[in-house]
Symmetry: C2
Subunit: 81 residues, 2 copies
């Protein structure tokens, strides 16, 4: 089973990498870019049989290691296969 | 309009950050984790009116700045709003 975790800074948190990319794009002539937010995706290949079990385990992984809950929010998506 | 770009290392490219996360998770007791691949997501808030135009511009941004086509592959997704 494959799970995908999206991690973004919370709306209230400044994203300096995103601002830098936005100004670089504007400097390159892409004047229609208004804002850029950078995030991470983590694809996990899992040995789980049951989707509920996988989802529960991935949430635990996020809380223990993958996500910093003070500044980041996350979303888990289960992909078939 | 909002566009989301997913950037991953190509399958043939080693992902040392992903391997490190995988072994950390296994060490924490998540023995069902088989493989981890790390990627980036870039959310772009755009001033475009036409989806086709936005898609074309985002592809150009990827080629010029956001993606390293030698080792990375990308996928663009247009989100409404």
């Amino acid at each position: 089973m494959k799970a995908r975790v999206h991690i973004f800074f919370k709306e209230s948190v400044l994203d300096p990498q995103g601002s830098t990319v936005a100004s670089s794009l504007q400097r390159l002539g892409f004047s229609k870019v208004k804002e850029v937010r950078m995030g991470k995706v983590i694809d996990l290949i899992l040995d789980h049989q049951l989707p509920e079990e996988a989802r529960k385990d991935v949430a635990k992984m996020c809380e223990k290691l993958l996500v910093n809950p003070v500044i980041e929010s996350y979303r888990v998506e289960l992909l078939e296969k």
